[in-house]
């Protein structure tokens, strides 16, 4: 059984909701990545997603676009990011760590080489938003046979027959996109989100993690109730972006993540 599935099993037994935080590698600087990851765990993050920057992040809103550009300008590479994950996993073996990014940097690196090196770095799984089930064949079986998971997304407009396909191909958890739109912190989520998440719970046997738009402890608490946990990205990046330096960023991120974790109960 994959590490992620064991992890969700344990969290379910402990009656705990899962807080996953997305952080772009190499943002705001290369030196900041490992300290920020430590801060996330200290503040209560249960899982982390390290983002590989891409020049054309077409499912992302302005916050992650800016962060990606900054990370590319900082010279962040996939090899370096794999090394961050290796160090992170050594230090926090209980915390699942996923590699998240658009297909092209991975494709260019080579699917087989990517999976082998990720397995060696003890990466727990992958989220590749522009690699839907119909295009995942070059990588899926190798990921599974290496004990990792490939996470697929479901969106409010995903029809039932397609959800069956996603359920069948995916492993680990289901990434539930809360709204029709790009990533980015929102004040509120649309009223339809709740019904969508209820449908996913009925029609999927995978743990459900809700992401996109979650910006406050209140929203996180609401959404966590509808699934197994929540994913937050842009809201944390906004805090880092508005901090004058790394210590200030760590402080404000720590406070926010602790509040979210507390609100989720």
């Amino acid at each position: 059984m994959s590490f992620i599935r064991q992890f969700f099993g344990n969290m379910r037994k402990a009656n705990q909701k899962v807080l996953s935080i997305y952080l772009p590698a190499g943002y705001p600087t290369s030196e900041a990545t490992l300290p920020l990851l430590d801060t996330l765990v200290e503040a209560g993050a249960d899982m982390i997603e390290l983002g590989i920057p891409f020049s054309d992040p077409l499912a992302d809103g302005p916050t992650i676009q800016r962060a990606s550009q900054q990370a590319i300008a900082n010279g962040t590479t996939l090899l370096q990011s794999l090394n961050f994950l290796r160090l992170f996993r050594t230090k926090h073996p209980q915390v699942p760590a996923l590699l998240m990014g658009y297909a092209n940097p991975f494709f260019r690196f080579g699917w087989d080489r990517l999976v082998d090196m990720a397995a060696a770095a003890d990466v727990s799984g992958f989220i590749i938003p522009d690699l839907p089930p119909e295009e995942c064949e070059p990588i899926l079986s190798r990921i599974h046979s290496s004990g990792m998971d490939l996470i697929f997304l479901a969106t409010p407009n995903t029809p039932p027959e397609r959800l069956r396909l996603i359920n069948a191909k995916g492993r680990g958890f289901l990434y539930a996109v809360s709204l029709t739109g790009v990533t980015g912190a929102r004040k509120n989520l649309p009223p339809e989100t709740k019904a969508f998440l209820q449908r996913l719970r009925r029609e999927s046997s995978h743990p459900i993690m809700v992401g996109f738009g979650i910006s406050t402890p209140q929203l996180a608490a609401q959404m966590a109730k509808e699934g197994n946990g929540v994913i937050i990205g842009s809201a944390v990046i906004d805090l880092i972006e508005n901090s004058p330096d790394l210590p200030a960023a760590r402080k404000t991120v720590f406070e926010f993540v602790s509040q979210v974790k507390k609100a989720m109960g």
Partner: protein, 403 residues
């Protein structure tokens, strides 16, 4: 002339059911767009052989666009070069002055059938934006055009044209602020308004079914050329030359000829200032396979898989990717791809203007220069067709600066 889409489709056989041209193409899009491209594919496949749709498409091509346009024998240019007979397929004579409108008409007729009233499009030079604004006005549809901020400055007259036809032009300030970023922004809009919006993409790029559908709508170029050349010369031409950015005029021209192995096909990319990365937009000449805008195709990119900045004197060729079918045609060797520099393109533009009284678009001028070099090496009994994809009025400011 009756418009038929079917012959071109049978001739090329591609893509397969999953939208692949060999290893290229596919549907590399976020999950949220999968229902939208599936709906589009179903809708397109249902009209592709529907006589009523084809009749409607043919009607507007004839009565609104002015098709069929001419295949002009360029006698003075031919004489000047002293080689093969040169013919010009006159897409510049279309309403709005370029081939772009063929595809837009097809897509917006489809959008109308699908009941989508909000149209979005991206544009580089502004030709596709203008064509989309034009047809949207004609059909009474809402139209939003995404255009890189830099291009809104370079092509400000086209911005005014679109606005005059009630389109909203949104300047894109992210990334390199050119065509690829306009596509990113259009896709973000689509992701956000997926239920009621139709994305009218301007080239043979993007996820399946776009490369197939846009090729089919543009294949009217090649079909007319085939029969017009038969009429003029009693046989097929020896060579065909077209410029390639995303590659829609080339793909539309090549489609019916791919199966005729005796016809040599040439695609001409933007060689820009030099062969250094960032100085050109010659994707098939210098690129490596990669994944961008929903497709696997040749890309100009860094070692790390970041998409490169590109340059061309012509905003319409300023794209770091290329249609996936071109990638396949390159690898199979059926089409020869080459590149022409900014300077050479300007020479081609001057030459055609002076000898034939036709000012080509700077994009097209790349094909003109390449074709002249090719014709020189061919015999006087042979003939060559240039796809004259657009007229040069839009480029006069740029041309003036360089003369």
């Amino acid at each position: 002339m009756k418009t038929q889409l079917i012959p071109a489709i049978k001739a090329t056989q591609y893509p397969d059911k999953s939208g692949k041209f060999g290893p290229f193409g596919g549907k590399f899009v976020p999950e949220i767009l999968i229902p939208a491209i599936t709906e589009l594919e179903d809708a397109y496949l249902s009209v592709r052989e529907d006589p009523e749709f084809l009749r409607e498409f043919g009607y507007y091509l004839s009565e609104y666009v002015g098709r069929p346009n001419s295949l002009t024998f360029a006698d003075r240019l031919t004489e000047k070069i002293g080689g093969a007979k040169i013919y010009l397929k006159r897409e510049d004579l279309n309403h709005t002055g370029a081939h772009k409108i063929n595809n837009v008409l097809g897509q917006l007729l489809l959008a109308r059938r699908m009941g989508k009233k909000r149209i979005i499009a991206e544009t580089g030079a502004g030709q596709h934006g203008v064509a989309t604004a034009t047809v949207a006005a004609k059909f009474g549809m809402d139209c939003i055009v995404y255009m890189g901020e830099e291009d809104t400055v370079r092509q400000r007259l086209n911005v005014s044209r679109m606005q005059l036809m009630n389109a909203e032009v949104r300047a894109v300030k992210t990334g390199s602020r050119t065509l690829k970023d306009a596509i990113n922004e259009a896709i973000r809009d689509w992701v956000t308004h997926v239920e009621d919006t139709f994305y009218c993409i301007g080239s043979v790029v993007g996820p399946h079914p776009y490369p197939m559908m846009v090729r089919d709508f543009q294949s009217v170029i090649g079909q007319e050329t085939l029969s017009q050349h038969m009429e003029a010369e009693g046989r097929l031409p020896e060579a065909i030359v077209a410029c390639v950015g995303g590659g829609s005029n080339a793909m539309g021209m090549f489609a019916p000829f791919v199966e005729h192995q005796a016809v040599a096909l040439y695609g001409v990319e933007a060689g820009g200032r030099s062969g250094k990365i960032g100085d050109h937009a010659a994707t098939l000449t210098y690129g490596e396979p990669g994944i961008l805008h929903g497709m696997l195709t040749y890309l100009l990119q860094s070692e790390a898989g970041q998409v490169s900045d590109v340059h061309s004197i012509s905003a319409g060729l300023d794209y770091p990717g290329v249609g996936p079918e071109h990638s396949q045609l390159k690898d199979s060797g059926r089409v020869t791809y080459g590149s022409v520099t900014d300077r050479e393109a300007l020479e081609g533009l001057k030459l055609l203007s002076a000898t034939e009284g036709i000012i080509p678009a700077l994009e097209t001028a790349h094909a003109v220069y390449y074709a002249c070099e090719l014709a020189r090496k061919m015999s006087r009994e042979e003939s060559l067709v240039i796809c004259l994809s657009g007229r040069g009025d839009k480029d006069m400011e740029t041309v003036e600066k360089h003369l």
